[in-house]
């Protein structure tokens, strides 16, 4: 496992702290056309995912890993389908814990 360039677990709120850095987050896909996909983060922020979507159809929830290029957008490098149902509350709590007092446990 290549741990040289870890992606930080973020939600909408935390994205602004890691602009320019590699991040990962789960969004609920709202719209996807061409090179722009809009999604809703687990804390209800609207995020723009740049980059061409994967060749397979996207499910309702998708994880994107990429570089944060602004408060509200990510240049996606990897897309993973997370299915049509997802516990956004737990994921959101996870993001807060991962960036809060348990930050040292995460890469």
């Amino acid at each position: 496992m290549d741990t040289s360039n870890p992606a930080v677990l973020v939600n909408g709120e935390l994205l602004r702290m890691y602009v320019g850095r590699k991040v990962r987050t789960v969004i609920q896909v709202l719209q996807s056309n061409g090179g722009i996909t809009t999604g809703k983060s687990t804390d209800e922020h609207q995020l723009v995912i740049k980059g061409s979507p994967p060749p397979f159809p996207l499910t309702n929830f998708v994880e994107v890993i990429g570089v944060a290029d602004s408060n509200q957008s990510i240049c996606a490098e990897r897309w993973t389908n997370f299915g049509n149902t997802f516990d956004t509350f737990s994921y959101n709590q996870l993001c807060q814990l991962a960036n809060g007092e348990y930050k040292s446990l995460f890469l």
Binding site: D87, F89, S90, Q93, L94, L97, E101
Partner: protein, 537 residues
């Protein structure tokens, strides 16, 4: 006094007592009627005593002493005599000073609670009783109970909120089962007791006294302890009818309270409270108002995490007039309503059954589970790491006893038939039921467990009969192996029954899987988040 010598010689010169002397004696003796009687003058008068020289003669004058009545000490009203009644009013003392050895006492206090009139029937016959609670200006509280005829005297007179002067009751030890006030004594009124309404409003006596426990402290409170709580009502569930153990139906309503400790707790309302206050609270919450609710005398229970429920002595106060209520309102309106609070009543979390006690594998041994008289029931999240494939099932009796299958192990009788000793019957086809010995592991350790039919099916994903046929009739070891392998390394929530039993000569802890549930990741995540939050505080 006794006369020793009836006649005797006159010794010396006795003076005749003059009449005037005797009268003065008499008047003084009138004040003291018990004075010893004076000697009779008549005797002295017969003897001549005008000259001092004794009369010569052969007959000596005799002085006949009289017998005096027995000596009586002067009257002393301190210890004897009629008892005078002191009808002066008793001093008012603080409730905290009351005790059975107090002597005459009076208390002035406000009624904070009035119990229902209850009728009962015991060996002595029919009776009735009611109690009310008092609070005085020093904050002392005490319960007052009346039985039978005394009930009639006072029941209508006592009103919650009014102040009374009470005296001449009996002090006895408080019945801790029903009486949750902080007083070791309880007053029992008698026919001689007095209860006087004090019409002038005594502002020095508070209307209620609370001792609120923050919700985060309820978590460490003892099961069945009685506490006061105050919090913002976050949600109110509808009232549902519940059948009680005694066959009577009652109402139950669950609501959630949240306070400044950022914890929330489930409060269960029972009975009448569901209707009056329960409905009022529901309407308030539905209209977007989140009221402050103060609860006096609620019981803590371990039922799901830690929660609280009302008892007959519980009183609810919506938006009470007290500083804690204002503080809560302030906290809530300024942002408290937006902070996520963790629930100490685990039932709030989805997928988490009530009264579930979570343990790890190592805790089973470390805590000596199963060693008590009754078996321990716990939930362990673990992974199946090994399944014993020899004797994974047994031949079972398929006959029904009532609505349950007999399931006793059956033995071969003859060539093609089976026999059940319990049902004393023979039959062609027997059933196959799981008797799995499996090893389960978690991050703390591993242990052997036994899984029967239902949990066996859950773990292996097929019936015991199917698996039996696969192995012994089709003899398809490849597919059999696949079924077994497929079931390994899945994480389950195992509900375990743990009990120490004798195996031959030694005591061994037997662990039975009562239920094996595949993990619901969402529910488990919530559970873990809750667990994490508890570590942090």
């Amino acid at each position: 006094m006794e006369t020793i010598i009836p006649d005797c010689e006159i010794i010396g010169n006795p003076k005749l007592l003059m009449q005037s002397d005797s009268t003065s004696q008499k008047s003084s003796s009138a004040n003291k009627p018990e004075q010893p009687a004076i000697p009779d003058n008549r005797h002295l008068a017969t003897t001549s005593c005008s000259n001092s020289a004794p009369k010569p003669g052969n007959k000596m004058p005799s002085f006949r002493p009289t017998v005096q009545p027995p000596y009586r000490p002067p009257p002393n009203y301190k210890n004897h005599g009629p008892i005078a009644k002191n009808d002066a009013p008793a001093r008012i003392i603080p409730i905290s000073a009351l005790n059975p050895y107090q002597g005459r006492w009076a208390i002035k206090a406000r009624v904070t609670a009035k119990g229902d009139l209850r009728r009962y029937n015991n060996a002595k016959g029919d009776g009735k009783v009611f109690s009310f609670d008092l609070l005085d200006s020093d904050g002392g509280e005490i319960r007052v109970t009346c039985f039978n005829a005394v009930v009639d005297r006072f029941y209508d007179a006592i009103e919650v909120g009014k102040v009374y002067l009470i005296s001449k009751g009996n002090l006895k030890p408080a019945q801790k089962n029903f009486n949750h006030l902080k007083n070791e004594w309880e007053i029992f009124l008698e026919s001689s007791s007095t209860v006087e309404l004090c019409p002038d409003e005594d502002g020095s006596i508070p209307k209620q006294q609370f001792s609120f426990k923050p919700i985060n402290e309820i978590e460490s409170s003892e099961n069945n302890s009685i506490i006061d709580v105050i919090g913002i009502v976050e949600s109110v569930n509808p009232s549902v009818p519940i059948l009680r153990k005694n066959g009577m139906e009652t109402q139950r309503r669950i609501l959630n309270l949240k306070d400044g400790s950022n914890r929330s707790v489930e409060l269960t309302l029972w009975g009448e409270l569901c209707n009056k206050q329960g409905r009022e609270l529901q309407q308030m919450v539905e209209s977007g108002v989140f009221p402050v609710l103060a609860v006096k005398a609620a019981k803590v229970n371990n039922f799901s995490g830690k929660s609280i429920g009302t008892i007959s002595a519980t009183q609810l106060f919506i938006n009470p007039d007290c500083p804690e209520a204002y503080g809560l309102r302030d906290w809530f309106d300024r942002g408290g309503k937006n902070t996520a609070s963790q629930s100490i009543s685990r039932d709030i979390m989805p997928g988490c059954p009530r009264n579930e006690v979570r343990k790890t594998v190592s805790q089973i041994k470390d805590e000596g589970l199963g060693r008590a008289d009754k078996p321990d029931w716990v939930t362990v999240k673990a992974t199946v790491s090994f399944i014993k494939t020899d004797n994974f099932c047994y031949t079972a009796c398929p006959l029904m006893i009532g609505d349950r299958q007999c399931s006793k192990k059956v033995t071969r009788s003859g060539n093609a038939r089976w026999q059940c000793d319990r049902c004393t019957q023979e039959f062609e086809e027997c059933d196959y039921r799981y008797l799995l010995q499996a090893q389960v592991q978690d991050h703390t350790g591993l242990t052997w467990v036994t899984a029967f039919q239902e949990s066996g099916e859950e773990i292996l994903g097929c019936s015991a009969k199917e698996l039996y046929l696969l192995k012994y009739e089709e003899q398809d070891d490849v597919r059999f192996g696949e079924v077994i392998r497929r079931s390994l390394f899945s994480e389950y929530l195992f509900r375990l029954k743990i009990k120490e039993e004798m195996y031959g000569e030694e005591q061994r802890v037997k662990i039975t899987v009562v239920k094996a549930e595949k993990l619901n990741y969402s529910a488990e995540s919530r559970f873990l988040l809750d667990l994490i939050s508890r570590i942090t505080c």
